[in-house]
């Protein structure tokens, strides 16, 4: 079916693309912008990873060996901000830019110039944020959650941080608006909402979450800013404010934010598992409904991040029950993925391996999440390394593995070249072993009583910290392989077929490989759409 597509794009002006710096600076092509997002995310992933390695190096042994405790706190704060806002979110936006138009049969994103703007805000935002490392008083060190009054003790970094967060927020809101408009208005005729690949569905819901909660974060940090500079007392007890209120507002943003990071991962995995099981996704519609209910529930569980602030009994019970309820739609998803593999014909290429690791390890993170929901037990777990283990399990082998799976999966379509399967698999195994050696012992540390965000610890925690740090360096340095495998594929990979995966389905695989610079300028016909869906 690639012929149909190439035929549509046979006009030679399509291969004209701007060259040099201008191509990127003035980019309006969704593929160029998607590439820029992905490259940016990769750079941030390594910067944030370097900070994580500073943290793990300091924690390798008891005693302070390398950094001052204040700088250590900056490292944990910046690591979180870079990974969440700099690596994972832009990576998802990059994948959406590349894949959504190709998957719904649109020629480009709906708002190409806005798309350019929302990307180019990011380098400025993160330059500002990284600059704080060099200002008097150092980078923000109050944790990425910015709880006052501690966050208000920051020095010159404070306004820079707030401004950077505003820029990141605007960037993601605009990016999200673009995705919603593209999906709702730009689908090819015949591509109904319930014909869309699940990646588009999860991103549509994610985009709505972004538009709903990023402004709330903007509001919260604006209030911090006025408390800091203009003498308001939203969160200052001295003026009749309440520091706990910040936590409520922050987590009203923060919990949906968690799903912003993970919902697109559900989408990617829902593309990959059927492909390599050579079987359609089991329970497509229930997957859509489950995603929507997770998104809905994310708005009424926020206070489970703050069970220890002293809430009334009724509040604790409510947030415990609503949190536990999230396990139901999440379970539906996991069961659907299992059922998709059941009676399939499974092969184990790199994207599938990452998707399988996602399935196992995200579920593991889900279990610890369920335990954390139990309020009395949370009084022990809260702010301990158990929590660190939990959210890293859902974010690293969860979100990050899904991003990597997606990159391996679609790389042949993007570049026209195949990555080296052997090195890809090596990358997978080293990452998977590394990530478990890194994070699994942190469960033990937390249960034994080690609080999070401390630069030094008593000797009873020494052994598992050492194991964890070894895992961190294994995981961290394995990621250089990821860059290498992509780089070598782009430069000298084998030519990839139009449909490099036997079981792949969806409109993107109806396009020639590599995907032409302008795809679906003429919308795919209904027969192309149904052919794409059948695979």
């Amino acid at each position: 079916m690639a012929n149909t597509a190439t035929h549509d794009h046979a006009h030679d002006h399509h291969d004209h693309k701007p060259h040099g710096l201008k191509r990127w600076l003035y980019a309006t092509n969704h593929k160029d912008i998607g590439t820029m997002y992905l490259v940016f995310a990769c750079v941030m992933f390594f910067l944030g990873g370097a900070m994580a390695l500073v943290i793990r190096a300091e924690l390798f042994q008891p005693g302070l060996q390398f950094v001052d405790p204040g700088f250590y706190n900056s490292m944990t704060t910046m690591h979180a901000l870079l990974m969440i806002f700099g690596a994972v979110m832009p990576a998802w936006t990059g994948l959406a830019n590349w894949m959504v138009p190709m998957q719904v049969g649109a020629p480009d994103m709906a708002l190409p110039r806005l798309n350019n703007f929302s990307f180019w805000l990011l380098p400025f935002a993160f330059t500002l944020l990284l600059l704080t490392l060099f200002v008097p008083g150092g980078a923000p060190a109050g944790g990425w959650t910015l709880y006052p009054p501690l966050s208000l003790q920051a020095g010159d970094s404070f306004p820079l941080t707030i401004f950077a967060i505003h820029l990141m927020g605007i960037s993601s809101i605009l990016g999200a608006i673009n995705v919603v408009v593209t999906i709702l208005n730009m689908r090819a005729p015949g591509m109904g909402l319930l014909n869309m690949p699940l990646f588009c569905w999860t991103w549509l819901i994610t985009a709505y979450l972004l538009i709903a909660v990023m402004p709330v974060l903007a509001g919260a940090v604006t209030m911090l800013l006025t408390d800091y500079f203009f003498g308001t007392s939203f969160f200052a007890a001295s003026g009749g404010g309440d520091p706990v209120m910040f936590q409520h507002i922050f987590w009203f943003f923060g919990h949906p934010e968690v799903y912003i990071l993970i919902l697109p991962a559900f989408g990617v995995v829902s593309e990959i598992i059927p492909t390599f099981s050579r079987k359609p996704l089991f329970g497509y519609e229930s997957m859509v409904y489950a995603t929507a209910s997770i998104a809905f529930l994310s708005f009424i569980v926020w206070a489970h991040h703050m069970f220890t602030v002293g809430m009334p009994l009724a509040g604790q019970l409510f947030f415990m029950l609503s949190t536990m309820l999230i396990a139901v739609p999440t379970g539906v998803k996991v069961f659907n993925w299992c059922a998709t593999m059941w009676k399939g014909s499974i092969s184990f290429e790199t994207p599938m391996l990452f998707a399988i690791a996602f399935l196992f390890l995200f579920t593991l993170g889900g279990f610890s999440g369920l335990m954390l929901a139990i309020v009395p037990a949370d009084f022990q777990y809260h702010d301990s390394y158990f929590v660190v283990a939990h959210f890293h399990y859902v974010l690293v082998p969860g979100a990050v593995f899904a991003i990597m799976a997606g990159v391996y999966y679609w790389l042949p379509k993007w570049t026209g070249r195949m990555y080296n399967e052997k090195i890809g698999k090596l990358h997978f195994w080293l990452s998977t072993i590394g990530v478990n050696v890194l994070f699994f012992p942190q469960h033990f540390l937390g249960l034994a009583g080690m609080p999070r965000r401390i630069p030094d610890y008593s000797t009873q925690f020494a052994d598992w910290n050492m194991v964890s740090s070894l895992g961190a360096s294994l995981f961290g340095f394995s990621q250089l392989l990821f860059v290498y495998v992509i780089w070598s594929a782009v430069r000298s990979g084998e030519k990839a077929a139009d449909r490099p995966w036997e079981g792949a389905h969806g409109l993107e695989w109806e396009l020639p490989t590599p995907a032409p610079y302008h795809s679906w300028e003429t919308p795919p016909t209904r027969s192309v759409i149904s052919h794409g869906a059948m695979h």
Partner: protein, 183 residues
């Protein structure tokens, strides 16, 4: 791209931008909403403790005694002396009591200070009524002045039976710790 589609896109974009603006406003609306929710859920809003309540004609409950503890805190050490005259007492719900706090200004200058009240457990807040309190208005203090400041309170007889002990605590903030306009 057809004109029609362009128009649709613009309309949807504007609507979504409006949605985002609404969400931004909602972030700020959470501030007053927070108080409202505290009130509705009966959690008790500490801000209510800054206002005098009307407590005419409440029935005494002679059979019940609640321990009331008094606590004083300062945001910084050394510049003030601030303490309750008594540490705790037993109180009948419904009965009006008066107790005193003493403050002495050691900052070395004339200044204004504001006490911020708090009640533990939080759910007792709504049942702790004060007819008179030095925390209702900022207090002027001359250099080295020491003053006895009264609090008059009633514990609402509807205080849940699960509470047998209530702590009234004040933090005493002066100008140097930024007293914001409270009204």
């Amino acid at each position: 791209m057809s004109e029609m589609r362009e128009q649709n896109n613009r309309r949807l974009t504007l609507r979504l931008l409006g949605f985002a603006a609404g969400a931004f406003a909602f972030g700020f609306a959470l501030v007053p909403l927070y108080d409202v929710i505290c009130d509705i859920t009966g959690v008790g809003n500490p801000k209510d403790l800054l206002r005098a309540s009307n407590v005419q004609a409440i029935e005494h409950d002679e059979s019940r005694l609640v321990t009331v503890e008094f606590v004083a805190d300062l945001p910084s050490v050394g510049s003030w002396e601030f303490r309750p005259v008594i540490a705790e007492m037993k109180a009948n719900p419904g009965r009006l009591y008066e107790i005193d706090y003493v403050a002495r200004n050691l900052t070395g200058r004339d200044t204004v200070a504001q006490a911020i009240p708090n009640v533990a457990p939080g759910k007792a807040t709504a049942f702790f009524r004060k007819t008179e309190c030095f925390c209702f208005i900022p207090q002027n203090f001359a250099k080295d002045e020491e003053r006895v400041m009264p609090v008059r309170f009633v514990i609402d007889p509807n205080l849940p039976k699960s509470i047998d002990r209530v702590t009234l605590s004040y933090v005493f903030y002066d100008n140097s710790t930024r007293v914001a306009a409270l009204n």
